[in-house]
Symmetry: C2
């Protein structure tokens, strides 16, 4: 049996291709229904990484023909003030997607605030209703963007994950948990490792699909990888050497069948999936007028 | 190192002890606040197993001092009719818990109907909001009863599951998925196996905690179990020999450290956890009047 070794999954290229398709669909929505998809981003404070992420999202929206509005607020804003702002955007029919950039400033209750976003506009997929539907396998309105992008990269290798062992290192709500559900829906056997796991190598070395999302540079070394495995590096830590993944790329690419680089792997896919979610929301609204007040919609959602 | 072998986890005894405590708390609630916890059960059709389960729940409620009402409906009821009935119970302030007995008759959309139950009365823990909060680690109002009971039995052994390998065979919304989240919250390393998993024995034989919830009698044999493991059998299939678990009890008890029997293991714990959920709901309502209309509560919940 031949085993592919060291094929690099080009996230940038795959993302570019998907973005082309999104751009065409946005154009079609405009031409046919006069509808322009619109994203509202809420950015609190001046964390440089957050500011840079938000700029990247604005730029990508513009390129795809999606309108974006950034509500930039001082870190001194009260929770009540922020909740009011979100309620206003919830009720604005011209907005199809709402994204609250994380992390929020100290003193703001992230859990409470994310629950205020209307599930039908929750393009980050983090509302408990959407996460609950993902968890239950009940077709959520939105799935978080990073795991959605990582899943596309896994599928791009052509591997049928059904019955295969997928090991996910990391159990965050943003990545590890939702990605497990996407892989489970495709019938992979799932293992979640994390900081408390005693024998990480014992799990990773048996993985057909290995996802590293721990935020620990160089955590995954060649001897922890099964020959021929698909290795997806979601880790992004800013170090002196620049953006660094969780996977020791140079050594692991000699063992893995397929591997994503950092940068240029999962990163470009995340924003692409955000665009896709905003487009899907606009298409849904374009298809059918919402029934009843937003509160009731939220429950039915 | 000594390894405990073949200790039988007596679910009946553990359940009885917990029920005594619940009975006392129910009495206290009645004495101090004049409040009687009340469960409404919705039973559609005449599936004999469902009828028998519901009778068991009624009996347990009475014994604990909890009021129960069973709404028994013909299998010909329309979905709209059922949704109306649930809406009425949602709005009845004397009811603290609502349980829709599954499975529902053909033609009724289970997903849609379970979403109608107010999250704050969802004592089965199956509403997407409660499942989403469980999935996110955000303190759900209710957790499904069977996994809650299974978790109590695991903890009864005194094992600290942090960092240990927990393998769950089965990925249902009623058992496998929520139990994984309970074990993950206690920092176990989680593996989900299911019908598509290629090497189930390869996973189960390395498990410190093994949960079988596949509904396949005799699936787990002694050679698939790690010596000293805690083995929890959630499987219950009605066979000619009576209620049969997924674990080949006689052979596995020679290898496992702790093992639950069927019947007398997880079964008695399930109803006990239902009583606990109804009591908790009544205690919550007793503490604080609900704010705003139920729709808004549902979102905040």
């Amino acid at each position: 049996m031949w085993i592919t070794v060291g094929a690099i999954i080009d996230g940038k290229k795959i993302a570019a291709k998907i973005r082309e398709g999104i751009k065409k669909e946005v154009q079609a929505l405009r031409d046919e229904k006069g509808l322009i998809p619109k994203l509202s981003v809420v950015l609190v404070g001046d964390n440089p990484a957050s500011v840079s992420y938000v700029r990247g999202k604005e730029k990508a929206c513009v390129e795809a023909g999606i309108e974006s509005v950034v509500h930039r607020l001082p870190s001194t804003i009260s929770e009540a003030g922020l909740l009011d702002l979100i309620a206003g955007i919830n009720n604005d029919p011209s907005v199809h997607g709402i994204l609250v950039q994380l992390p929020l400033s100290r003193g703001l209750n992230e859990t409470r605030i994310l629950r205020e976003v209307l599930p039908s506009k929750d393009v980050d997929g983090l509302h408990p209703v959407n996460m609950g539907r993902l968890f239950k396998g009940e077709d959520p309105l939105f799935v978080p963007c990073t795991p959605l992008g990582a899943m596309e990269l896994i599928l791009s290798t052509g591997m049928d994950v059904a019955g295969k062992k997928a090991v996910i290192v990391g159990r965050s709500n943003l990545v590890g948990k939702p990605l497990a559900m996407l892989l489970l829906a495709k019938h992979a056997t799932i293992t979640w490792c994390h900081s408390k796991t005693k024998d990480i190598a014992g799990e990773t070395s048996r993985a057909d699909v290995l996802v590293a999302a721990a935020g620990k540079p160089g955590l995954i070394k060649a001897n922890m990888v099964k020959p021929g495995a698909v290795v997806i590096d979601v880790g992004t830590t800013r170090t002196e050497k620049g953006l660094t993944g969780d996977v020791d790329f140079e050594s692991v690419k000699e063992v893995a069948g397929y591997i994503t680089p950092v940068p240029g792997g999962v990163g470009p896919m995340t924003i692409t999936m955000l665009l896709k979610n905003v487009l899907a929301s606009a298409q849904r609204i374009g298809e059918k007028a919402p029934e009843g007040p937003p509160e009731v919609q939220a429950i039915i959602a």
